[in-house]
Amino acid sequence: MESLVYVALFAPFVGSLFASLFGMSERQIFVGVVASLLLFISFLASALLAANLYITGDVIHITMMDWISAGDFNVAFGFVVDQISVTMMTVVTLVSTIVHIYAIGYMDHDKSFNRFFSYLSAFVFSMMILVMSDNFLGLFIGWEGVGVCSWLLVGFWYHKPDQDRKDNPSISPSWAANEAFIMNRIADLGMLVGIFILYWNTGSLQYDEVFAKLPELSESVLVGAAIALFIGAMGKSAQFPLHTWLTDAMEGPTPVSALIHAATMVTAGVFLVVRSNPLYSMEEVAGVSMFIASLGTFVAFYAASMALVERDLKRIIAYSTLSQLGYMFAAAGLGAYWIALFHLAAHAFFKALLFLGGGNVMHAMHDELDLFKMGDLRKKMRGTWLYMGFASIALVGLPPLAGFWSKDAIIETAFNEHTYILWIMLVITAGMTAFYSFRQVFLSFHGEDRHTALGFHPHEMYKFVLAAMFPLAVLALITGWFMSSYKEFIYKIGESVQYEMSDHTHHLAIYLALMVIFIVLSSITFAYFKYARTGEKAWKRDEEKEQGFFYKLLINQYYVPKFYEEFITKPYAMISEVFWTKIDLKIVDATVDNIAKFFYATGDKTRSMQTGNLSNYLNWMAVGAMILLGVAAISAMIGLGGIDG
């Protein structure tokens, strides 16, 4: 079994290296094929490990080699395959394999085809390190690794020029890539601090050793560590106020958005909280957990509200990812870690499907993403329409699809915990989700044909690409049916992940679910009447409404990016400039030069003493002797003796 762990971990790495060998040469289909095959091998290994764990219940823990040791600090490359990590491994490798195959078709015309696969496989490798590590520092390797891969992939089309924020809210791929990297780094500092706290208080960074020591720690230490680690999670999972990078990251190629910015990397924050569940479930940190749940709920609502008016297809899906991450954090914060993890997995499947469908549309529309320029695409892209419609149903949470089971459980949890404000907000958000998801489906695939007049001639994606997407559709359908066996599986990990609804909630569960379904269905119907009809009653763009206060607030993302630009980026550049030109050059350096000039000037002035006239020199000698005598007399009086050790 140990060798399977290495196969699962290193197969993507081999794929990345292989692809990078051809990084600078022409497009070679086999590069994509080999990379996909290696990922599939990694998936098989992960699945076997999962099956083994399910049957035998033996957690595999291996240490590969030493990494850093200094003083008492000692960290090795160690990996653990337990219920939590194996869930992530299977989901990550499965979605990655499909996205790789998809990308062979999607990146077909790109001259940097090989380079793309090298980055994409490197990402999967980093993600595997992140989820498989047995210690916080190993997780941090993966954490930063996925950050770099995300930077490379968001900025993949690096040659595109910067645009004005009005024309393109993401400015340019390279700008968006840098934004993502830097914003994540801010959060990473929080994570590092969390690591420092844990190390100095527990003497280790290995999960099991750290968690074993938790009960001995003081409240302030626990709270500090919990807050610091969560700040790290906020960056990667794009929680408010570090969320703006995620929508801008849509500048990357769509397979990247599907894999990194929907299914896997952005869920790393949720994974971190779930992984550290012994910490977050401690009574002392209940306040932090409550904050996580509240922030998650807020983000779910906040992101969904921005999606209501967005015109850009990919940005809508990005907002919905943000919103769903909020749901996951709400569950994790309320203590239902396994439900969070289950929603994470289900979300990975249907969101990847949705994104890949969006990629098909983009491919067909020659990179046009404006919903207002589409309409009635279903006739030309039947397969994609079915996939996206199906994924949307899963996303909005209608039974029997995956989203229903996982999302409903989260809403139920909020009710069960008597956090009714969170519960109401999550229910409203479910309604908004239904509206914006179907607004997007109807605007693109239904209603009047608006694209032909603009000169677009969309065509369906390659057959093999559509076929590759099929497993995701199946998973989006069936995942939810395995919820109870998954529960049984993950409960083995320990008491801290176990979460049960109270009897009271249990009785009401069916009514609660029906209520949510009713809200969702009415939202979809409303969206249908507004956007899907043709002829007389067809949807028309209402420019006047777009000038309204709320519309402008939402379309400008509550002016948060603008705020960052005006109050952080610009002042930072200004202060830097002042530091350089005013302080460093004018004060610090000028002082040094002035001291030097002073000595030079003194020398220059006193040079006149050197007249060559003997009697002048005698005069100066007398002056000198007097001064020395004076100094000697004074020092004798105040008793400055020699130093005698």
Partner: protein, 514 residues
């Protein structure tokens, strides 16, 4: 080879002298051959180094002026060993990658002399010998900046010389005073640093002496507010000058703190933690911001170098093995990464004769190899895990967290601010559309350039993934140093502050033995 250290020190110098009679056309080959031999010798030093011994090894001692206790006294421990290898490596690679053709013979000879003085500083165990090499190292660098530099080279080289020289003189006064005190206490003269270690000084003496040594070292590091010579020196120096300056010469300052200040004045060092940490934080944050404002690529690297030296300084005063070992490791990492970055900027300067960021854009399209190597070095510079830059920076921050969480968080902004200024360079030089006509015809790295950078890339990744071979000897010596400081410290505050690792095995330590 009992006198391997003497060979390491004087071989480059003798070879340099012989260089005068070598033909101008073959001088480059000759120079590279010499530096390769020196590098191999330093590797041999590493392989025959006893990893379990934390004390001085390969010790050589010849009394020079017995009456004054001055002797030719050399030795290496785990701390100096790798700085020596860094010196020989960077000299070799710097020379191999050098594009300079003007007065090439003088350049090669100067570099060989410079190599002698640098190795000399790191192996010297006698204060006078140390001081001798310390000051001698200024001369070749003065010449390199003054003769091959940019338009402001005379101003820059004189500033560099006078500034550092002034600091060294104050340090010299400190050294003489230590020797004098040693004589007063023991009745004999000695300039051997290991003898000085045994001297327990009263707090007041420690503080004054600490200050004297501090000025000498701080200007060299360079610490804020003594750093303003460095932008001029880097700005005007030819590429090779900047590479050696950043990679090795700055390390003399931080090395001085480890070799002199910490073991000799443990109490004063503990008392100096806060003021030094404040200066270091200013270095980290303030110079990182200045780096962001720069319009010239080389100046970005120059200021970033100061910012990273701030992290190293912080680690030196963490008073625990995590921070101190991390700091020594970071010296190596900074040497390699900033050296490589200066080389890269030099390569682009040779092609376009400008270093202004605004002159470039979209270079990845025409120079992919260059962009990849720059990207790797950028990631190492911002401290990405599995690159060399992470290990040291992480350990320093981890170690200093024990001293002050708040200060560590401020210092930790270096991982953010570092990314900010480096990614800005990356974006405006390598990304975006390729618009300027001059840039469209740029040639990618040639074989000489590629092969001088590849070893550095390999080291950056190797020591990032597996730092153990280097970190273990460093850590042994650092543990010995801390144990020694802990025993020697006279105040309770200092004893409380200095943390000796629990895993330290006292039987292996023989600090101060001759």
């Amino acid at each position: 080879m009992d006198n391997i250290l003497s060979v390491l020190v004087f071989f480059p110098a003798i070879a340099g002298l012989l260089g005068f009679v070598v033909n101008k056309n073959s001088i480059r080959t000759y120079g590279i051959a010499v530096t390769v031999i020196v590098f191999l010798l330093s590797l041999w030093l590493w392989f025959s180094f006893d990893m379990s011994n934390a004390g001085m090894q390969f010790v050589e001692m010849i009394p020079l002026i017995p009456d004054m206790g001055i002797s030719y006294y050399l030795g290496v421990d785990g701390i100096s060993l790798f700085i020596i290898i860094l010196t020989t490596l960077m000299t070799m690679i710097g020379m191999a990658s050098m594009g300079e053709t003007k007065n090439i013979k003088n350049m090669i000879i100067t570099l060989l002399f410079l190599e002698m003085t640098m190795i000399g500083v790191f192996v010297a165990l006698d204060a006078i010998i140390f001081y001798l090499f310390w000051e001698l190292s200024l001369v070749p660098m003065l010449y390199i900046i003054g003769a091959w530099g940019g338009p402001l080279r005379i101003y820059a080289s004189i500033k560099f010389f006078l500034y550092t020289f002034t600091g060294s003189l104050i340090m010299l006064v400190g050294m003489l005073f230590v020797a004098y005190t040693y004589h007063n206490v023991t009745g004999v003269w000695s300039f051997a640093i290991t003898d000085w270690y045994a001297l327990v000084l009263p707090i007041e003496y420690q503080l004054w002496l600490f200050a004297a040594f501090f000025i000498g070292f701080a200007i060299k590091v360079p610490m804020f507010p003594f750093h303003t010579w460095i932008p001029y020196a880097h700005g005007q120096a030819p590429t090779i000058g900047s590479v050696i300056l950043a990679a090795v010469l700055l390390k003399m300052g931080t090395y001085g703190f480890v070799r002199f200040s910490l073991p000799m004045f443990p109490d004063a060092s503990v008392m100096a933690i806060t003021p030094i940490a404040v200066l270091s934080l200013i270095m980290v944050v303030y110079t990182a911001m200045i780096a962001y404002a720069q319009k010239d690529m080389k100046q970005v690297i120059a200021y970033s170098s100061v910012s990273h030296m701030g992290i190293i300084m912080l680690g030196l005063f963490a008073m625990n093995a995590e921070g101190l070992s991390g700091s020594v490791f970071q010296m190596l990492s900074h040497g390699i990464v900033s050296g490589a970055l200066f080389m890269l900027v030099g390569m682009i300067y040779e092609r376009r004769h400008t270093k202004l960021i605004s002159e470039f854009g979209g270079l990845t399209a025409v120079m992919p190899k260059f962009a990849i190597i720059f990207g790797v070095m950028l990631m190492a510079s911002v401290g990405l895990p599995l690159t060399i830059g992470f290990v040291g920076e992480f350990l320093v921050l981890l170690g200093f967290y024990k001293v002050s969480p708040v200060m560590t968080i401020i210092a930790g902004t270096s991982i953010i601010l570092g990314a900010v200024y480096m990614l800005r360079v990356m974006k405006f030089v390598f990304f975006g559309p390729l618009e300027k006509e001059e840039n469209k015809k740029l040639k990618d790295l040639n074989a000489r350039e590629t092969w001088s950078l590849i070893p550095l890339v390999a080291i950056v990744i190797w020591l990032g993934v597996y730092p153990k071979p280097v970190l273990t000897p460093i850590d042994n010596s650092v543990n010995a140093l801390l144990t020694f400081m802990d025993e020697k410290a006279i105040t309770k505050e200092a004893k409380d502050m200095i943390i000796v690792a629990k895993s330290t095995n006292p039987s292996k330590l023989n600090m101060g033995d001759k």
